[in-house]
Symmetry: C2
Subunit: 180 residues, 2 copies
Protein backbone atom coordinates (compact mmCIF):
# COMPACT_ATOMS: atom_id res chain seq x y z
CA UNK A 1 0.00 0.00 0.00
CA UNK A 2 2.80 2.41 0.82
CA UNK A 3 4.35 1.80 -2.60
CA UNK A 4 1.10 2.71 -4.36
CA UNK A 5 0.76 5.82 -2.17
CA UNK A 6 4.31 6.92 -2.99
CA UNK A 7 3.60 6.43 -6.71
CA UNK A 8 0.52 8.65 -6.52
CA UNK A 9 2.14 11.27 -4.27
CA UNK A 10 5.04 11.46 -6.73
CA UNK A 11 2.73 11.80 -9.74
CA UNK A 12 0.07 14.15 -8.37
CA UNK A 13 1.58 15.66 -5.24
CA UNK A 14 0.36 15.10 -1.70
CA UNK A 15 -2.60 17.44 -2.08
CA UNK A 16 -3.55 15.99 -5.46
CA UNK A 17 -3.87 12.46 -4.03
CA UNK A 18 -6.92 11.07 -2.22
CA UNK A 19 -7.46 7.96 -0.11
CA UNK A 20 -9.98 6.95 -2.78
CA UNK A 21 -7.29 7.31 -5.44
CA UNK A 22 -4.94 5.08 -3.45
CA UNK A 23 -7.71 2.49 -3.08
CA UNK A 24 -8.43 2.64 -6.82
CA UNK A 25 -4.75 2.16 -7.66
CA UNK A 26 -4.65 -0.92 -5.42
CA UNK A 27 -7.99 -2.24 -6.70
CA UNK A 28 -9.48 -2.32 -3.20
CA UNK A 29 -12.24 -0.38 -1.44
CA UNK A 30 -11.61 2.86 0.40
CA UNK A 31 -12.66 1.04 3.58
CA UNK A 32 -9.76 -1.35 3.11
CA UNK A 33 -7.30 1.55 3.00
CA UNK A 34 -9.03 3.17 5.94
CA UNK A 35 -8.54 -0.03 7.95
CA UNK A 36 -4.77 0.67 7.95
CA UNK A 37 -4.56 4.47 7.75
CA UNK A 38 -7.19 7.01 8.72
CA UNK A 39 -5.62 10.00 6.96
CA UNK A 40 -3.18 10.79 4.17
CA UNK A 41 -0.90 12.29 6.81
CA UNK A 42 -0.63 8.92 8.51
CA UNK A 43 0.41 7.39 5.19
CA UNK A 44 2.94 10.14 4.57
CA UNK A 45 4.44 9.67 8.01
CA UNK A 46 4.62 5.89 7.54
CA UNK A 47 6.46 6.45 4.25
CA UNK A 48 8.96 8.91 5.68
CA UNK A 49 9.45 7.63 9.24
CA UNK A 50 12.01 4.88 8.42
CA UNK A 51 14.25 7.39 6.61
CA UNK A 52 13.94 9.90 9.48
CA UNK A 53 14.69 7.30 12.14
CA UNK A 54 17.72 6.05 10.29
CA UNK A 55 19.14 9.53 9.80
CA UNK A 56 18.66 10.39 13.48
CA UNK A 57 20.35 7.12 14.45
CA UNK A 58 23.28 7.73 12.11
CA UNK A 59 23.63 11.28 13.40
CA UNK A 60 23.72 9.97 16.96
CA UNK A 61 26.38 7.29 16.38
CA UNK A 62 29.83 8.47 17.26
CA UNK A 63 31.57 6.02 14.98
CA UNK A 64 29.19 6.18 12.05
CA UNK A 65 31.45 8.52 10.16
CA UNK A 66 28.55 10.97 9.99
CA UNK A 67 29.53 13.09 12.98
CA UNK A 68 31.28 16.33 12.21
CA UNK A 69 34.99 16.16 12.91
CA UNK A 70 35.98 19.46 14.49
CA UNK A 71 34.26 21.55 11.86
CA UNK A 72 35.69 19.52 9.02
CA UNK A 73 32.31 18.11 8.15
CA UNK A 74 31.16 14.53 7.83
CA UNK A 75 32.19 11.68 5.61
CA UNK A 76 30.01 12.49 2.61
CA UNK A 77 30.04 8.86 1.49
CA UNK A 78 27.88 7.92 4.48
CA UNK A 79 25.22 10.41 3.53
CA UNK A 80 25.30 9.34 -0.12
CA UNK A 81 24.80 5.71 0.92
CA UNK A 82 21.88 6.84 3.04
CA UNK A 83 20.36 8.76 0.11
CA UNK A 84 20.74 5.79 -2.21
CA UNK A 85 18.96 3.55 0.31
CA UNK A 86 16.03 5.98 0.50
CA UNK A 87 16.18 7.10 -3.07
CA UNK A 88 12.49 7.25 -3.97
CA UNK A 89 11.37 8.91 -0.74
CA UNK A 90 14.22 11.44 -0.95
CA UNK A 91 13.36 12.30 -4.55
CA UNK A 92 9.70 12.70 -3.68
CA UNK A 93 10.27 14.96 -0.68
CA UNK A 94 12.67 17.14 -2.66
CA UNK A 95 10.04 17.72 -5.32
CA UNK A 96 6.87 18.19 -3.29
CA UNK A 97 6.97 21.14 -0.94
CA UNK A 98 3.36 20.49 0.10
CA UNK A 99 4.45 17.23 1.76
CA UNK A 100 7.26 18.78 3.79
CA UNK A 101 4.93 21.57 4.90
CA UNK A 102 2.37 19.18 6.42
CA UNK A 103 2.13 19.71 10.20
CA UNK A 104 3.21 16.09 10.81
CA UNK A 105 6.50 16.75 9.00
CA UNK A 106 7.26 20.44 9.23
CA UNK A 107 9.01 20.35 12.60
CA UNK A 108 10.89 17.13 11.88
CA UNK A 109 11.88 18.50 8.49
CA UNK A 110 13.44 21.68 9.85
CA UNK A 111 15.20 19.76 12.62
CA UNK A 112 16.58 17.16 10.23
CA UNK A 113 17.70 19.73 7.68
CA UNK A 114 19.57 21.63 10.37
CA UNK A 115 21.13 18.44 11.68
CA UNK A 116 22.23 17.21 8.27
CA UNK A 117 23.65 20.62 7.37
CA UNK A 118 25.58 20.70 10.64
CA UNK A 119 26.82 17.15 9.99
CA UNK A 120 27.89 17.99 6.49
CA UNK A 121 29.48 21.35 7.12
CA UNK A 122 30.42 21.14 10.78
CA UNK A 123 30.56 24.19 13.00
CA UNK A 124 27.89 26.73 13.80
CA UNK A 125 24.99 27.82 11.63
CA UNK A 126 25.30 31.20 9.98
CA UNK A 127 24.06 32.71 6.72
CA UNK A 128 26.92 31.17 4.76
CA UNK A 129 26.50 27.64 6.13
CA UNK A 130 22.73 27.85 5.62
CA UNK A 131 23.29 28.72 1.97
CA UNK A 132 25.94 26.09 1.27
CA UNK A 133 24.25 23.46 3.41
CA UNK A 134 21.01 23.82 1.53
CA UNK A 135 22.86 23.92 -1.79
CA UNK A 136 24.66 20.69 -0.94
CA UNK A 137 21.49 18.84 0.05
CA UNK A 138 19.64 20.07 -3.04
CA UNK A 139 22.56 19.34 -5.36
CA UNK A 140 22.84 15.74 -4.13
CA UNK A 141 19.08 15.20 -4.35
CA UNK A 142 18.92 16.87 -7.77
CA UNK A 143 21.78 14.78 -9.13
CA UNK A 144 20.16 11.63 -7.73
CA UNK A 145 16.89 12.45 -9.47
CA UNK A 146 18.54 13.36 -12.76
CA UNK A 147 20.76 10.28 -12.87
CA UNK A 148 20.12 8.38 -16.12
CA UNK A 149 18.37 5.08 -15.36
CA UNK A 150 21.07 2.97 -17.00
CA UNK A 151 24.04 4.08 -14.88
CA UNK A 152 25.33 1.64 -12.29
CA UNK A 153 24.84 2.26 -8.59
CA UNK A 154 28.63 2.13 -8.17
CA UNK A 155 29.10 4.93 -10.70
CA UNK A 156 26.33 6.98 -9.12
CA UNK A 157 27.74 6.51 -5.60
CA UNK A 158 31.19 7.66 -6.71
CA UNK A 159 29.93 10.69 -8.61
CA UNK A 160 27.59 11.81 -5.84
CA UNK A 161 30.34 11.46 -3.26
CA UNK A 162 32.67 13.44 -5.51
CA UNK A 163 30.00 16.13 -5.89
CA UNK A 164 29.34 16.33 -2.16
CA UNK A 165 33.05 16.48 -1.29
CA UNK A 166 33.55 19.21 -3.85
CA UNK A 167 30.74 21.28 -2.32
CA UNK A 168 32.14 20.85 1.20
CA UNK A 169 35.53 22.00 -0.01
CA UNK A 170 33.84 25.00 -1.61
CA UNK A 171 32.07 25.87 1.62
CA UNK A 172 35.29 25.70 3.62
CA UNK A 173 37.02 27.90 1.09
CA UNK A 174 34.16 30.42 1.17
CA UNK A 175 34.13 30.41 4.98
CA UNK A 176 37.89 31.06 5.14
CA UNK A 177 37.62 33.88 2.62
CA UNK A 178 34.84 35.55 4.64
CA UNK A 179 36.96 35.38 7.79
CA UNK A 180 39.89 37.25 6.34
Amino acid sequence: MLGAALDLFSEHGFEGTSLQGIADRLGVTKAAVYYHFHTKDEILLALVQPAIDELLMLAGEKDSGLRPQRGRGMDVAGYVDYLLRHRRVAAYLTRDATAMSRPVLVEKGAQLRGQVEAMLLGGDADDLSTLWGSATLQALAGALMAAPPDVSETWLREELTDLGMHLLAGYRKAARRRQT
Copy 2:
Protein backbone atom coordinates in the same frame (compact mmCIF):
# COMPACT_ATOMS: atom_id res chain seq x y z
CA MET B 1 -4.44 37.70 -10.00
CA LEU B 2 -1.20 35.94 -10.95
CA GLY B 3 0.32 36.90 -7.60
CA ALA B 4 -2.56 35.30 -5.70
CA ALA B 5 -2.32 32.20 -7.88
CA LEU B 6 1.43 31.89 -7.22
CA ASP B 7 0.80 32.24 -3.47
CA LEU B 8 -1.72 29.41 -3.54
CA PHE B 9 0.31 27.18 -5.87
CA SER B 10 3.30 27.66 -3.54
CA GLU B 11 1.27 26.83 -0.44
CA HIS B 12 -0.86 23.95 -1.68
CA GLY B 13 0.78 22.80 -4.89
CA PHE B 14 -0.68 23.04 -8.36
CA GLU B 15 -3.03 20.11 -7.86
CA GLY B 16 -4.12 21.33 -4.43
CA THR B 17 -5.27 24.70 -5.82
CA SER B 18 -8.64 25.37 -7.51
CA LEU B 19 -9.95 28.27 -9.58
CA GLN B 20 -12.51 28.71 -6.79
CA GLY B 21 -9.68 28.98 -4.26
CA ILE B 22 -7.97 31.64 -6.34
CA ALA B 23 -11.26 33.57 -6.59
CA ASP B 24 -11.76 33.29 -2.81
CA ARG B 25 -8.25 34.59 -2.14
CA LEU B 26 -8.92 37.59 -4.37
CA GLY B 27 -12.39 38.14 -2.94
CA VAL B 28 -14.02 37.86 -6.38
CA THR B 29 -16.38 35.35 -7.99
CA LYS B 30 -15.15 32.31 -9.89
CA ALA B 31 -16.72 33.84 -12.99
CA ALA B 32 -14.39 36.84 -12.64
CA VAL B 33 -11.35 34.54 -12.67
CA TYR B 34 -12.83 32.55 -15.54
CA TYR B 35 -13.13 35.77 -17.55
CA HIS B 36 -9.33 35.91 -17.71
CA PHE B 37 -8.28 32.26 -17.53
CA HIS B 38 -10.32 29.19 -18.41
CA THR B 39 -8.05 26.64 -16.73
CA LYS B 40 -5.38 26.43 -14.05
CA ASP B 41 -2.96 25.44 -16.81
CA GLU B 42 -3.50 28.80 -18.50
CA ILE B 43 -2.67 30.54 -15.22
CA LEU B 44 0.44 28.41 -14.74
CA LEU B 45 1.63 29.19 -18.24
CA ALA B 46 1.00 32.92 -17.77
CA LEU B 47 3.06 32.79 -14.58
CA VAL B 48 5.96 30.93 -16.13
CA GLN B 49 5.98 32.28 -19.69
CA PRO B 50 7.91 35.52 -18.98
CA ALA B 51 10.73 33.59 -17.29
CA ILE B 52 10.82 31.07 -20.14
CA ASP B 53 10.87 33.76 -22.83
CA GLU B 54 13.64 35.65 -21.11
CA LEU B 55 15.81 32.58 -20.74
CA LEU B 56 15.34 31.62 -24.38
CA MET B 57 16.22 35.17 -25.41
CA LEU B 58 19.32 35.23 -23.21
CA ALA B 59 20.39 31.86 -24.55
CA GLY B 60 20.00 33.14 -28.09
CA GLU B 61 22.01 36.34 -27.65
CA LYS B 62 25.56 35.94 -28.72
CA ASP B 63 26.86 38.72 -26.55
CA SER B 64 24.73 38.06 -23.48
CA GLY B 65 27.56 36.27 -21.74
CA LEU B 66 25.26 33.27 -21.42
CA ARG B 67 26.52 31.41 -24.45
CA PRO B 68 28.95 28.61 -23.81
CA GLN B 69 32.49 29.57 -24.71
CA ARG B 70 34.09 26.55 -26.31
CA GLY B 71 32.99 24.16 -23.63
CA ARG B 72 34.10 26.48 -20.85
CA GLY B 73 30.55 27.13 -19.76
CA MET B 74 28.67 30.38 -19.39
CA ASP B 75 29.15 33.38 -17.21
CA VAL B 76 27.38 32.13 -14.09
CA ALA B 77 26.69 35.69 -12.94
CA GLY B 78 24.23 36.13 -15.80
CA TYR B 79 22.24 33.09 -14.77
CA VAL B 80 22.24 34.17 -11.11
CA ASP B 81 20.90 37.60 -12.09
CA TYR B 82 18.20 35.85 -14.07
CA LEU B 83 17.29 33.65 -11.10
CA LEU B 84 17.11 36.65 -8.77
CA ARG B 85 14.77 38.42 -11.19
CA HIS B 86 12.45 35.40 -11.27
CA ARG B 87 13.03 34.35 -7.71
CA ARG B 88 9.50 33.39 -6.63
CA VAL B 89 8.63 31.51 -9.82
CA ALA B 90 11.97 29.67 -9.76
CA ALA B 91 11.50 28.67 -6.11
CA TYR B 92 7.98 27.46 -6.82
CA LEU B 93 8.90 25.37 -9.86
CA THR B 94 11.80 23.79 -7.99
CA ARG B 95 9.48 22.64 -5.22
CA ASP B 96 6.41 21.48 -7.12
CA ALA B 97 7.04 18.61 -9.47
CA THR B 98 3.34 18.44 -10.33
CA ALA B 99 3.60 21.86 -12.04
CA MET B 100 6.58 20.93 -14.20
CA SER B 101 4.87 17.69 -15.21
CA ARG B 102 1.78 19.46 -16.60
CA PRO B 103 1.48 18.87 -20.36
CA VAL B 104 1.71 22.65 -21.00
CA LEU B 105 5.14 22.73 -19.34
CA VAL B 106 6.67 19.29 -19.65
CA GLU B 107 8.19 19.75 -23.09
CA LYS B 108 9.35 23.31 -22.46
CA GLY B 109 10.78 22.21 -19.12
CA ALA B 110 12.94 19.46 -20.59
CA GLN B 111 14.09 21.72 -23.43
CA LEU B 112 14.98 24.56 -21.07
CA ARG B 113 16.75 22.32 -18.61
CA GLY B 114 18.86 20.87 -21.40
CA GLN B 115 19.61 24.32 -22.74
CA VAL B 116 20.57 25.78 -19.38
CA GLU B 117 22.75 22.78 -18.57
CA ALA B 118 24.49 23.12 -21.94
CA MET B 119 24.94 26.86 -21.33
CA LEU B 120 26.33 26.29 -17.87
CA LEU B 121 28.59 23.37 -18.58
CA GLY B 122 29.27 23.75 -22.30
CA GLY B 123 29.97 20.79 -24.54
CA ASP B 124 27.88 17.73 -25.23
CA ALA B 125 25.42 16.04 -22.94
CA ASP B 126 26.55 12.81 -21.33
CA ASP B 127 25.85 11.09 -18.01
CA LEU B 128 28.37 13.23 -16.19
CA SER B 129 27.12 16.56 -17.51
CA THR B 130 23.51 15.53 -16.80
CA LEU B 131 24.45 14.82 -13.20
CA TRP B 132 26.49 17.98 -12.61
CA GLY B 133 24.15 20.18 -14.64
CA SER B 134 21.17 19.11 -12.61
CA ALA B 135 23.16 19.42 -9.38
CA THR B 136 24.17 22.98 -10.32
CA LEU B 137 20.61 24.08 -11.13
CA GLN B 138 19.25 22.48 -7.96
CA ALA B 139 22.04 23.85 -5.80
CA LEU B 140 21.46 27.41 -7.00
CA ALA B 141 17.69 27.12 -6.60
CA GLY B 142 18.07 25.48 -3.18
CA ALA B 143 20.47 28.16 -1.96
CA LEU B 144 18.13 30.86 -3.26
CA MET B 145 15.21 29.36 -1.35
CA ALA B 146 17.19 28.84 1.84
CA ALA B 147 18.67 32.34 1.87
CA PRO B 148 17.80 34.08 5.16
CA PRO B 149 15.31 36.91 4.51
CA ASP B 150 17.58 39.56 6.02
CA VAL B 151 20.60 39.12 3.73
CA SER B 152 21.18 41.76 1.09
CA GLU B 153 20.66 41.03 -2.58
CA THR B 154 24.29 41.99 -3.20
CA TRP B 155 25.50 39.39 -0.70
CA LEU B 156 23.18 36.78 -2.16
CA ARG B 157 24.27 37.51 -5.72
CA GLU B 158 27.93 37.15 -4.81
CA GLU B 159 27.48 33.95 -2.86
CA LEU B 160 25.30 32.31 -5.52
CA THR B 161 27.78 33.25 -8.23
CA ASP B 162 30.60 31.84 -6.11
CA LEU B 163 28.60 28.64 -5.61
CA GLY B 164 27.82 28.27 -9.31
CA MET B 165 31.41 28.94 -10.37
CA HIS B 166 32.63 26.39 -7.86
CA LEU B 167 30.27 23.76 -9.25
CA LEU B 168 31.36 24.47 -12.83
CA ALA B 169 34.99 24.10 -11.79
CA GLY B 170 34.06 20.81 -10.13
CA TYR B 171 32.38 19.56 -13.28
CA ARG B 172 35.39 20.43 -15.43
CA LYS B 173 37.69 18.66 -13.00
CA ALA B 174 35.44 15.58 -12.96
CA ALA B 175 35.22 15.57 -16.78
CA ARG B 176 39.01 15.76 -17.12
CA ARG B 177 39.51 12.97 -14.61
CA ARG B 178 37.06 10.72 -16.50
CA GLN B 179 38.91 11.32 -19.76
CA THR B 180 42.25 10.11 -18.49
